[in-house]
């Protein structure tokens, strides 16, 4: 299991995927759909990229597999679900704070 220092800063893909998992467990396809929505359709995660990243993120301890929280959609029983770990939450919190800080400065300077 990696330390926070090893995973920060998060890549764009990992950041978006963590955001997608931040409030509740989801299956892979749902993560991809959420990421696409978050990025206004700019990030369409292919299957390999999606599951490759999920594997990596598990290796790093950012997420873990979870039970189906009660979805009943298409093939819901067969899908793998993932949820964010405390390390993932912490990493996401620090990363979003950093981005927010930078973004705030940027906006202030652009306005100023």
């Amino acid at each position: 299991m990696a330390q926070l220092d090893d995973v920060l800063p998060l890549t764009n893909t990992v950041f978006h995927m963590l955001v997608a998992l931040a409030d509740s467990p989801r299956h892979g396809y749902a993560v991809a759909q959420d990421v696409e929505e978050l990025s206004d359709g700019r990030m369409v995660l292919g299957p390999g990229t999606l599951y490759g990243s999920l594997v990596r993120m598990q290796e790093q301890g950012l997420i873990q597999e979870a039970k189906n929280p009660g979805d009943e959609g298409l093939h819901a029983g067969r899908r793998r679900y993932y949820r964010i770990t405390p390390l993932g939450t912490e990493a996401l919190r620090l990363e979003s704070a950093r981005l927010l800080k930078t973004a705030t400065v940027a906006q202030r300077r652009l306005e100023g």
């Binding site: 299957p47 390999g48 990596r56």
Partner: protein, 891 residues
Amino acid sequence: MDSKQDLGRRLYRALLRCYPRDFRDRHEADLLQAFDDRSTEPRFSGIGGRVRLAGWLTKDLMRSVPLLHRPFTRPGGGMMGELVQDLRYGVRMLVKNPLFTAAAVVTLALGIGMNATVFSAVRGLLLEPLPGVQDPERLIQMYRVWGGLDFGSNSVPHYQDVRDRTGDAFESVAAWTFSPVALAEGETTERLVGMMVSANFFQTYGARPALGRAFIPGEEDEGPGAHARAILGHSFWRTRFGGDPQIIGRTVTLNGHPFEVVGVAPRDFKGPVSFADVPIYVPIMMAREVAPCCAHLDSRGNNTFNVVARLRDGIAEERAQEAMDALLVQLREEYPDHYDRQLGTRIIPQSEAGFHPSLAQASMGMSAVIMTVVALLLLIACVNVANLFLARARDRRQEMALRLSLGAGRGRVVRQLLTESLLFALVAAVAAVAMAAVATRALGAVQMPIDGPWDMTVDVDGTVLLFTGVISIAAGVLFGMAPALQATRPETMSTVKGGGGGVGRSRMSSALVVAQVALSLMLLVGSGLFLRSLQGASQIDPGFDEPRNLVTAALDPSLQGYEDEEVWVLLDRLVADLRALPGVSEAGMVSWLPLGLNNSDRGIEIPGYTFAEDERRSINYTQATEGYFEAMGVDFLEGRGFARSDDADGKPVIVVNRVFAERYWPGESALGKVVQTAGDREVVGVVEDGKYGSLGEAPTPFMFLPSRQVGPSQATLVARTRSNPGEVLGQLRGLVRSVDPNLPLFDVRTMEDHMGIALLPARIGGSVLGLFGILGMLLAAVGIYGVMAYSVSQRRRELGIRVALGARRNDVIRMVVGQGIRLSVLGTILGLASAALLGRLVEGLLYNVSGLDPVAFTVVPALLIGVAALAVYLPARRAAGGDPLEALRSE
């Protein structure tokens, strides 16, 4: 889902194989589910959508496959993980530096390939049981033992007695011998070496004909001359008759006699000798038609046949030996004249007997030498490659040091380097197998200078592949170990800081120089010995003059129905015509030429001489006419050669050689003495010793009987030409044709060509080892240069300092060259010592050359030290000639 979608999904599923296995095992279903999910989305529907989907998935694969193949950076991936990592890294190293890879792989492939080739040849020709034979381990060959003769052949009556009286021990007993025949079919006549076999020959070997039938015991072994039938060898049937299935019942003409083809031998059975592929078999009972020299089927003294027997189930060799001993006792009682002097019978497993047991030792010896030589070549190749790796290891020292300092265990780094070298070795092994396949095919196409159905074809089969794999791995470990250990020595740590090597950095390369020189020397001295042996063999005095200007041809008038007096009329006319040719100075006749494959012996008694118990009483002989000794140019010590008057009406005479005379009448003149063989014969001449059976033989007693008194069983014309032997050969054919156009003429050639047979062992040894020697010399030169250049380049910094401190360049060069030569001399001493051992071992295989031949043992080391000196001088001059500051900065 329509079929198109189905196809796309199948394609995607196939492409998933690009991912690492563990990932695929875990997520294949997820990935396919994702494919299905996406397929239903509107943007990926329709033709345009499908194309978009394909493009998107391709991009995804290209991005994610390399990502997933990169090893995870978690600590400890287990042995397999590490191995995969090392292999991946090794492949990258192979591809990254193609020149290095090519040099290492080619060198190794040469070394491994030659070993694989020699291994296939030795195994296929000497060690493997005969192909196409049923239960080959139950076949034995038997030889008659006489005083001084360990492996005597068998006569037909003797064979028949063995066959009929040893049924308790043997299932069946067969006989065979090679026999030249002229096969005429339509317009063309060709000379073949076929085989005369007993009727139960195929049954004894357990070889079922592919077509037609085998000879039938009880039919084709009865009635001499009654059953003109032949069985074709499988490949001869295919090449000469196009594999015609209608061949059975066709007639072929052998030596002018029609023979009916009754069968075709099975495809995998090529005859009783592993390196021959017999084209045609005829029954022994047809000997008179096929090979008049061996036509005396009822003569117990005519020992020309090999006898092979199949042991009965559960009968051990000892039991068979007892049966043969008992038979000999019986035969002695029945035919005391013929068996009194036979000491016993020797039984040898067929696989060990091969062509003839007397040759087995020499051929095994020669094979051992060649295998040793190629093993040495491989070792030299390994040293060369080790050196290449060592040089590269220097370039990678920083990388290794970094790995070690980052906590990689030494074992781990060694393992990585070994994996790399094994990978190289395996790539080389693939190239080597390809090389062996080509080389063994070339071996199959080799033309032997002796007439015969020779077939050296061997297969590169599973065992050869296994052998190649094993030696490749051994080679990989061998050349990988030294650089790996060197690269990970503790002092490597200082390299991290960018410094040079450390103390003792050149010990490894010094050892390599010494090893390289020693190995090369052994190899080159060995090759040198065999080249000297070839030279020695051609310098051996065969006992006659200039073989190049001797023209010979064999004929047998009895083949064409000539009888007694007519034979002499014909032969005398031919010899007279020959003598009348302007290009011919002298001509005569002889029954068998010396140094051929034929030899005959007959028992003798010498009045006043008592033979020791185990002393050989039979002496090799030939029959000659007047003019023979003169044409050959044989020197007389005393007395005369044969005269025209030494005929049936004259006094029985004999000519003997020097050893013969000295053995039986030591210190006396042999002239006028009596030899009892075919009557009481008076010695009329003593000739200088010659070589009769082989060039390597020790001086051996020999005798000449006058043809006109004992009959010309087979005649070989011999003519001494003044200048152009080729022209005389043509005229000779013309002469024979003008006398009788149907008279078959064999072996029309110069004595020099005839002697190709005698020189064959020396030629094979000389040319094979000469070739290996040249290869070895090249490898060694490159290797020594590489090792020297590397060890000098390692010292550039030190040499630079010396020059900077005021040392003169010439002194520096002298110092470096001196050190290099010291190493070469050390290697030379080691190499000479090993070569001397080797030389002693191979002495028996050399002609006229000692195992410690002074020429080979001085010229080769001098040459090698010269090469080594040059190899160290060139880099030394470069190192000393450069800018010292440059050298100091360079590392």
